[in-house]
């Protein structure tokens, strides 16, 4: 029997933009066990709820993560709106949907670039990030911010997108989709990519479900679960269907994200086509008294903001369960059997966001 050795992976590693640590137990170069640990940058943002008014905490929620910042704000606001029985105007719901899908687009393109870099495919990395820039430009143009948008608030949104700008965005979607499909074609059909990813880090449908996997990690194993199906924001009007693959390997997780880019472009197109007229927000009166588990589908999967109000202007509790935390147990099960050289690719395949995890 080969001797077992433990190799520390992270918290500082070239493929990890943020710190997470894995103790890899190896037999020769094959992983037999992986033990994770987190908490290097724990910020205690949940406790800040005790020092910020419920309307101000949107700014904190938005700063949990620099990629899905808008969706954290959306999840928080939807939770407060549910507790306070606030009906958000339709136009605000559509704008929230557009900005959410822009966030998903730039997140997936960011991930595709990082994933290509992890595989050693440098020019694919550069092309992915080049396309991502155009999405960030739209976010900056329509919200004023590339990373933190600051447009979501309890009761609606702060900014509108005018008819001229919507028209311009609509016209830009076709050429953008064509470029994304050219990029996606490489990820889905290139022999090098397939050879590197197929059969690697496999997790079955039953395992993914039992381990609580969420987002593309779950959908790549055949679990057809996407919280947008519940129709929050404007998704109920837009004819949404989750993207599902069945192989459960790194290639399938990549394929789900590539196809979700096409789906997001289509959702933005539909949202622009059906954009209703009307106000952007409603006046918020009173304070939240009650509790709600607010859920939103982020690029990495389902995020939960558990919010509990006691009738004062400060909530008594905000508990945030981010998708990466839920995807750590599946990651631990994916790694055994992989070669040491493939560990970075398997880790990246869940699209870990440690900033979210360390809220």
């Amino acid at each position: 029997m080969p001797e077992r050795i433990v190799v520390p992976f992270g918290p500082q590693h070239p493929v990890l933009p943020e710190p997470i640590h894995l103790d890899l137990v190896l037999e020769d170069e094959t992983v037999v066990e992986a033990i994770p640990s987190i908490g290097y940058i724990h910020r205690g943002l949940e406790r800040l709820i005790e020092k910020r008014e419920f309307t101000e905490y949107v700014y904190v929620a938005e700063r949990i993560c620099g990629i899905c910042s808008f969706m954290h704000a959306l999840c928080y606001c939807q939770g407060i709106e549910e507790i306070m029985k606030i009906e958000v105007p339709d136009r605000a719901k559509y704008l929230r949907t557009i900005w959410s899908e822009c966030s998903r687009l730039h997140s997936h393109l960011l991930w595709l670039g990082l994933f290509a870099d992890g595989m050693g495919f440098e020019n694919l990395f550069m092309r992915s990030w080049q396309l991502r820039e155009s999405v960030l430009d739209v976010l900056e143009d329509t919200t004023g911010g590339r990373v933190i948008q600051g447009t979501c608030k309890v009761g609606g949104v702060r900014r509108d997108i005018g008819a001229e700008k919507l028209d311009e965005m609509h016209r830009a979607l076709d050429p953008f989709e064509e470029q994304c499909r050219e990029l996606g074609d490489i990820f889905l059909n290139d022999d090098t990519v397939k050879y590197r990813l197929q059969g690697l880090g496999v997790i079955s449908k039953d395992e993914a479900y039992a381990l609580g996997a969420v987002g593309p990690t779950a959908r790549a194993s055949g679990v057809a679960m996407d919280h947008r199906e519940t129709g929050y924001a404007a998704y109920g009007d837009l004819g949404f269907k989750p993207v599902v693959e069945t192989a459960g390997d790194c290639y399938a997780r990549c394929a789900v994200r590539v196809k979700e880019i096409y789906a997001s472009i289509n959702l933005i197109r539909q949202a622009i086509d059906q954009m209703p007229e009307g106000p952007l927000d409603v006046k918020v009166k009173g304070t939240p008294d009650g509790e709600y588990f607010s859920r939103v589908e982020q690029p990495r999967g389902e995020v939960i903001h558990y919010l509990k109000g006691n009738g004062s202007k400060h909530l008594s509790r905000a508990r945030i369960r981010t998708p990466t935390l839920a995807n750590i147990p599946p990651l631990v099960k994916m790694l055994p059997g992989a070669q040491l050289a493939d560990v970075p690719v398997v880790v990246l395949s869940i699209d870990p966001c440690i900033s979210c995890t360390e809220r």
Partner: protein, 126 residues
């Protein structure tokens, strides 16, 4: 087709927790999260499950001295939430499949952060 989300909260006693979780597991629910709320003198622990967007929440209310049995024997992935619950709130959880003994969340500040247990036992699982 839009699926309507339902949320239910069910209070459970500590001695019935494992049995109730086994029942939820047998019904085909996935574990969504375990979260803890400090009520100032006691804790509220929410075990959240989901099946087809139907959200079921088992709620446990315990005193500061209570030990909570791990559900990681039923839901393997529960260890992340149970270690987090221990590290951030100081609640001892017995029988976790991967027990980090207070080192899952690495912080300069001594755990637990909980107001209720502040200044007392630093790490009950150690």
């Amino acid at each position: 087709m839009t699926v309507r989300e339902e949320q239910t909260i069910i209070d459970v006693a500590l001695e019935n927790l494992t049995r109730e979780v086994e029942r939820v597991h047998a019904d085909g629910y996935r574990l969504v999260q375990i979260g803890c709320t400090d009520l100032g003198g006691s804790y509220e622990v929410n075990y959240s499950f989901d099946k087809g967007y139907q959200f079921k929440n088992l709620r446990l209310t315990i005193g500061p001295e209570a030990e909570v049995p791990s559900i990681s024997g039923i839901y393997w992935g529960a260890f992340v939430y149970e270690n987090e619950m221990h590290d951030l709130f100081g609640i001892p959880v017995t029988g976790i499949n991967i027990d980090f003994k207070g080192t899952f969340i690495k912080t300069v500040e001594k755990y637990p952060f909980s107001v209720t247990r502040k200044g007392g036992d630093s790490c009950r699982n150690a």
